[in-house]
Amino acid sequence: MRRSREPLLWAVFSAGGMVAALLFPALIFVLWVAAPLGWVSPPTHGQLAALLDHPIVRLGAFVLLSAVFFHWAHRFRYTLYDGLQLYHLNQLIAVVTYGVATLLALVAAFLLLIP
């Protein structure tokens, strides 16, 4: 019996959720709260450019951000499906959420992976 695609979708959702849970609080705090408020000196352009110079860093950033996009798509799809009882729109919601996530991942690839 052919099994559904759901396990793979759930695995990516899970990975994205863990990435966001472990990385985002520190990133957001430092870059968007502490630095703009002057609590710490913001990383200079030179520092970050040197960091993003390594292709491994850019690939890593692409993979992690894409996982987070798909985490949102999967979770938001189910929230709309169950939260607003939009069962008749199931196909549409799936196409839109995963479609947007794919688009965002493609944009990330374009911005980060093209030298």
């Binding site: 099994r3 759901e6 396990p7 793979l8 695995a11 169950d82």
Partner: protein, 244 residues
């Protein structure tokens, strides 16, 4: 003597299109459960009230109802623990109501059968080989999931089950796990085919209410999430096992 009001949902399909409420004034005793109050109603006030109960001590799973909005075993819910004011008693959510406080549980029974909740063997050792031996650690693996009394409080608590009646539900999955994790069982693959479907474990969004209301600490939510991890790992590694 102190008394308390029970507002009980009535539904008499021969007379009404939709449920209605009926209030009863019941003695308030410190050691009475909601079930005792219902039995008082049935014995003294209104013999037409229909509801299920049996052991009155929390092991048979018959007396599950919604008390003040929460699914609970009425034989294990004290009157004195309820907030002041009338106590609302309704049937368990998620199941069609046959009459008064009695719901139809056929759906669950069908789903339970689907997960094959028995020891599945691919090979049967001869009788001369003796019994299957199991260590205490092996027993501990699945013991928690064997405590399920099929009371259906988890189904009543699960919003997904009420929204999507095809969802196989928490207890069925927990009971499937009870056998999957049993060292004597060899049927994990068969159950995976049934459970790793949209109506199986993947409808679950880990609300977690099922585990919160379970009177036996089965933790069906934990069983489902563990199963998701196993199913995802199985799906990912099946790429390397095309014969499966």
């Amino acid at each position: 003597m102190d008394s308390v009001t029970l507002e009980v949902q009535r539904y008499r399909p021969e007379d009404e299109e939709a449920p209605s409420w009926q209030s009863y004034r019941v003695p308030f005793r410190a050691d009475w459960m909601v079930l005792d109050a219902l039995n008082y109603i049935k014995d003294e006030l209104d013999g037409t009230l229909s509801y299920r109960w049996a052991c009155r001590m929390g092991v048979c799973g018959s007396c599950g109802m919604t008390v003040n909005g929460e699914p609970t075993l009425t034989c294990a819910t004290y009157l004195k623990d309820q907030p002041a004011g009338p106590i609302r008693v309704e049937p368990l959510r998620g199941f069609p109501v046959i009459r008064d406080l009695v719901g139809d549980l056929t759906d669950f029974l069908e789903k339970l059968k689907r997960v094959q909740p028995w020891l599945v063997r691919e090979d049967e050792p001869p009788l001369s080989a003796g019994e299957h031996l199991q260590t205490p650690e092996q027993l501990a693996e699945y013991k928690q999931y064997s405590m399920c009394i099929n009371c259906m409080l988890c189904y009543a608590a699960c919003p997904i089950y009420e929204l999507e009646p095809d969802f196989i539900g928490p207890a069925a999955i927990a009971l499937a796990q009870r056998y999957n994790l049993d060292s004597r069982d060899q049927g994990a693959a068969r159950r995976m085919d049934v459970l790793s479907q949209h109506d199986g474990i993947w409808s679950c969004t880990f609300v977690g209410e099922c585990s919160a209301v379970c009177p036996k600490n089965v933790d069906p939510a934990g069983a489902i999430q563990r199963y998701k991890v196993a199913a995802a790992a199985d799906a990912l590694t099946s790429v390397f096992r095309p014969w499966r």
